[in-house]
């Protein structure tokens, strides 16, 4: 469903010149699978997902979503994904219903079909009580529900969640994770980024551990544990990251000496 190959991204920085946010990552995610990007802040998770959602253009390498290239066929890609991130807010001056309806129309759904879709989504996500509530009046949890409804209104084969639980309380976060799991069970291909180990452990079928623009390790939870002889994901995570940082220090030292 999703293929990412040697994807790099560097930003122009006035002071430092090019700043490498992604240093050639590759992975594949299949339908009916939750693919987790696990990494600390600044690991490049958001950059990777923004490239997948066509918000950013890669510096080199390529990524395809359901066979469509993100660089040359962004409009096709956008039709086939639902994107939820901390940067995709809901409109303050629109009600939940209007907001989801608006995006449904932009996806070109027919009015009858759209109404049916929305009725079922609003029921499933228990959003009927906030149907006529303006975005400005919603709590963070309600807004996140609207975002998810907005992302799935056109029933896309691929869903991309960038740290969807940030800022949510435990109850709402749990409900959200359940929703994501349900979507996977419906056969969606889901890419999910987080910096919380428990979420990755509980939810993801495959995990990529990211740090400073690199994927340090990739596989199912079991594969990762077996390969590194460390059953606890959190320990594994720290091990890999400190190893990587040590490598950087060594290279630097060898360069300077």
């Amino acid at each position: 469903m999703i293929q990412v190959h040697e994807l790099t991204k560097s930003y122009e920085d006035l002071r430092r010149g090019a700043f490498v946010a992604l240093a050639g990552i590759s992975f594949e995610a299949q339908a009916g699978q939750i693919y987790g990007l696990l990494g600390p802040n600044g690991a490049g998770k958001t950059t990777a997902l923004r490239i997948l959602s066509t918000m950013l253009q890669p510096t080199s390498g390529f990524a395809t979503v359901n066979g469509c290239d993100v660089l040359t066929q962004p409009a096709l890609v956008r039709r086939q994904i639902g994107f939820v991130s901390t940067n995709t807010a809901v409109y303050d001056r629109m009600t939940a219903w209007e907001m989801v309806e608006y995006f449904g129309r932009l996806y070109g759904l027919q009015p009858d079909h759209l109404r049916e879709r929305m009725d079922s989504i609003f029921a499933r996500l228990q959003m009927n009580e906030i149907r006529n509530l303006l975005g400005a009046k919603m709590s963070t949890g309600m807004k996140q529900k609207v975002s998810i409804a907005r992302a799935i209104v056109h029933d896309p084969p691929v869903l991309i969640f960038d740290e969807p639980t940030s800022g949510l309380d435990v109850l709402v976060a749990r409900a959200l994770l359940n929703t994501v799991a349900e979507l996977r069970d419906q056969g969606k291909c889901i890419v999910f980024s987080t910096h919380i180990m428990r979420e990755a452990e509980r939810l993801c079928d495959r995990i990529a551990i990211m740090h400073r623009g690199h994927i340090l390790a990739e596989g199912t939870h079991e594969e990762l544990s077996d390969r590194n002889d460390e059953p606890d994901l959190e320990e594994l995570f720290f091990q890999l990251i400190s190893q990587h940082d040590q490598c950087d220090v060594d290279t630097l030292a060898s360069l300077t000496s």
Binding site: A31, S53, Q73, R105, G108
Partner: protein
């Protein structure tokens, strides 16, 4: 582009704006409240002002002659000052100077009094005024020779009354006018008495009178006033009405974090920009129209009240604006508010936050206000140069329409609307570009310094210049040319002319292009297209230049006929033509006027600028913008137009051949042909006499040579065929152009591909 998406975006944005209290306030409530309140306070101030008489001090009343009496009961006599005027003067009369003030001290004493506001004006009659006046009268009566009397009048001039006022104060000037009126009537009476004494008929002072009759009909008189006031007010509101929604729709959306939500929807960037543009335009037009209505109604009401107060309507000729004027105004509002909306949108898309967006209002006003003010100047009339200036052109066209000069307006409709449409499209392209530009969308605040930036420009330069570097360079070239034109006088010899032309071309166009390419790009030869072209392109380009020459000739002829040169320009051109004709060496002429400009201008325009602009991803847009800059670099506007069209062909050649050499050759041949024709046209009649077949293609008349229609037909056919040949050349795409082509290709097939993919997914 899908119109239904644009519709949905438009509807959403309008609803969103209508739910915003601030927008409603500025667009609806403010104008509906503002003008009635302003009108009310204006009326009150006017009443207040009318009831106040100006205090005036009159010194030296004892020195008045007995007849005719200026004063009666410490006020001006009724015959010199009707009661209505007397009410507006609060006159204090003193027989002589105040104690302890001498005539020498009077000016400083008067200055103090007026500065203090005790009096608005002070009039002083010197002590000997009456006696001198009497002496003067007697001297004319006694003299028999009229000539002598004149001399006597000069030598024994009566010392006149002195009037002290402060011209910096309006009140003081009003007082001066009122007093001067009274004194003038008084003087006229004295003159009349003198004449009666001399038994000269009164008519002698006025042998004739100028009778002025206003031929303007009442409607056009009103139109003249309104045609200056209304457009200005309406446009300022159109700009303001566009700017604030634009900020909210772009920068505000970024700030609230919904921009990414919208961008990850399937709506294309162009659809988003169009939807937003229509919204902004709606609000711009609505704000402007509401302001116009509210102002019109209030204005009409206030005017009637003022007329009623003034008692006579003669000198206040402003009635309600004629309906036709309002109609034209509303029609002109559409292109202008489209332009303002597109500009505001592009600027707002660039801003990171609403706050940053607000900062850009000032520069925008600084640019557009002079353009709006220019038509208010009395000497500015609609001509070709003016019609090509955005905003100003529309304003002038509007004025011409309101004044009812439709034929004149018709002549300039195309250039005015063309320029406006071009500006709108460019602004829109710019806005769409910003929506595609991740560095604008996800811009974070960075510490900026000139030094850091300069280092960055050199350290992180790429093979060819960036779009902004190319535009910056283009703007710099125009500034160079402008500065140079300030110093340049017309040289009086061919050598001087040749030196000035060659040096200025190399110094302000050619050399900067090379320097910029070396410093700001990694690959100067790629930037300046210094590649060897395929050899076949060279004869083809010469053929094209020759084929195109009759067409170019015809075009410049049409342009100068439609929009004739001004006398000054004609004079200058004649001088230059004479210099060129008298040049000793034809090869020198070609070197200076064909080869040098060809090399220098191609290096700059088709080299640096076009290479940079091609990063926009649209070949034709890059060619067009380069050509507009190329046209602007020519100082005579009629030449700019033809240069602009030639620029399009030159840009096309440069891109299709991937080399600058063919463009230089074309430019060179094109200029040479024009030179040779003008230099040798005198020999043409002999040539035609000798070989009649030549006359089938060319004629020679007093106006100069002209091509016959068979030549033109041949020229069109040959031009099309050669251009087609160039069109078949495989040219190298820039990265952005390839991507744009792929994007354009996928955009048309979205629905088809989507269905295919979906079915693939299901199977």
């Amino acid at each position: 582009m899908s119109w239904s998406n644009i519709k949905w975006i438009f509807l959403r944005e309008v609803r969103d704006q209508l739910r915003d209290r601030r927008t409603i306030f500025t667009i609806v409530v403010l104008p509906l409240l503002l003008y009635p309140l302003l009108g009310m306070s204006f009326l009150q101030v006017a009443q207040f002002q009318r009831e106040h008489a100006t205090p005036v001090l009159l010194l030296g009343a004892s020195a008045f002659p007995d007849s005719p009496p200026l004063l009666a009961d410490d006020a001006f006599a009724k015959e010199f000052c009707p009661e209505k005027e007397a009410n507006l003067l609060d006159l204090t009369v003193k027989p002589s100077l105040p104690e302890n003030v001498t005539a020498e001290q009077l000016p400083s004493w008067a200055e103090e009094r007026i500065q203090d506001g005790e009096y608005d004006a002070i009039v002083y009659f010197p002590t000997e005024f009456a006696t001198k006046l009497m002496e003067f009268r007697q001297s004319i009566e006694s003299s028999s020779e009229p000539k002598k009397s004149e001399e006597a009048g000069v030598t024994q001039a009566t010392p006149g009354p002195q009037l002290f006022l402060n011209t910096a104060s309006d009140k003081s000037r009003i007082a001066r006018d009122r007093v001067a009126n009274v004194l003038r009537r008084w003087r006229e009476t004295i003159v009349a008495e003198n004449l009666v004494d001399r038994q000269v008929p009164l008519i002698a002072t006025k042998p004739f009178q100028v009778v002025s009759t206003d031929v303007a009909r009442e409607r056009s008189r009103r139109a003249a006033v309104w045609s200056k006031i209304l457009p200005f007010v309406v446009l300022v509101w159109a700009l303001t009405g566009a700017f604030y929604p634009a900020i909210d729709l772009c920068a505000g959306e970024k700030e609230r974090g919904t921009m990414e939500t919208l961008l990850c929807s399937p709506a294309q960037r162009s659809e988003i920009v169009w939807g937003k543009l229509l919204t902004i335009m709606t609000f711009s037009v609505a704000t402007s129209t509401l302001n116009l209505l509210s102002m019109g109604i209030t204005g009409a009401f206030v005017m009637t009240r003022i007329v009623a107060m003034a008692g006579d309507a003669a000198h206040i000729a402003i009635g309600a604006p004629p309906l036709a004027a309002v109609g034209w105004l509303l029609l002109a509002l559409l292109p202008l508010s489209a332009l303002f909306s597109a500009l505001s949108l592009a600027i707002a898309a660039f801003a990171r936050s609403s706050k940053e967006g607000q900062y850009y209002l000032m520069p925008l006003l600084m640019i557009t206000l002079p353009l709006m003010m220019m038509p208010l100047m009395p000497s500015v009339e609609l001509d070709l140069g003016m019609s090509l200036i955005p905003v100003t052109g529309v304003m002038l066209l509007l004025r011409t329409l309101i004044e009812g000069r439709y034929v004149e307006a018709l002549l300039y409709v195309v250039p005015v609307l063309g320029v406006t449409a071009l500006c709108v499209l460019l602004a829109l392209r710019w806005a769409i570009h910003q929506f595609n530009d991740e560095s604008v969308l996800f811009r974070e605040s960075e510490q900026w310094g000139l030094g850091i930036w300069f280092r960055h420009m050199i350290r992180d330069r790429s093979d060819t210049p960036t779009v902004s570097a190319a535009l910056l360079f283009g703007a710099l070239l125009l500034v160079f040319r402008f500065v140079l034109s300030l110093f340049g006088g017309l040289p009086d010899s061919w050598d001087g002319y040749a030196t000035v032309t060659a040096v200025s071309l190399v110094a302000t166009i050619g050399l900067p292009a090379i320097i910029f390419a070396v410093i700001f790009t990694r690959n100067a030869s790629q930037t300046l297209l210094l590649h060897v072209p395929r050899l076949t392109t060279l004869p083809m380009v010469v053929l094209l230049a020759i084929a195109l020459h009759p067409l170019a000739f015809l075009m410049s002829d049409i342009v100068t006929q439609l929009y004739p040169f001004s006398p000054e320009v004609t004079g200058q051109l004649h001088v230059m033509q004479r210099l060129i004709d008298r040049a000793p060496n034809a090869w020198m002429v070609l070197l200076v006027l064909a080869v040098t400009p060809a090399i220098c201008e191609e290096l700059a325009f088709r080299g640096f600028i076009l290479s940079g602009l091609r990063h926009m991803g649209h070949k034709w847009l890059a060619i067009l913008v380069t050509s507009v800059l190329f046209g602007a670099a020519h100082s005579v506007i009629q030449q700019s137009l033809t240069a602009c069209v030639m620029g399009v062909i030159l840009g096309y050649i440069a891109i299709q051949t991937g080399s600058l050499l063919p463009a230089i050759l074309f430019h060179c041949v094109h200029n040479s042909l024009a030179m040779l024709l003008s230099r040798f046209h005198e020999a043409l009649p002999d040539l035609i006499a000798q070989y009649p077949i030549v006359g089938f293609f060319v004629t020679a008349s007093d106006q100069g040579p002209a091509y016959q229609w068979p030549t033109v037909v041949l020229s069109v056919w040959l031009t099309i065929r050669t251009l087609q040949w160039f069109g078949r050349q495989q040219y190298e795409h820039t990265r952005e152009e390839s991507r744009q082509e792929a994007l354009d290709h996928q955009a048309t097939n979205v629905s088809a591909r989507f269905v295919v993919n979906e079915s693939c997914g299901q199977s």
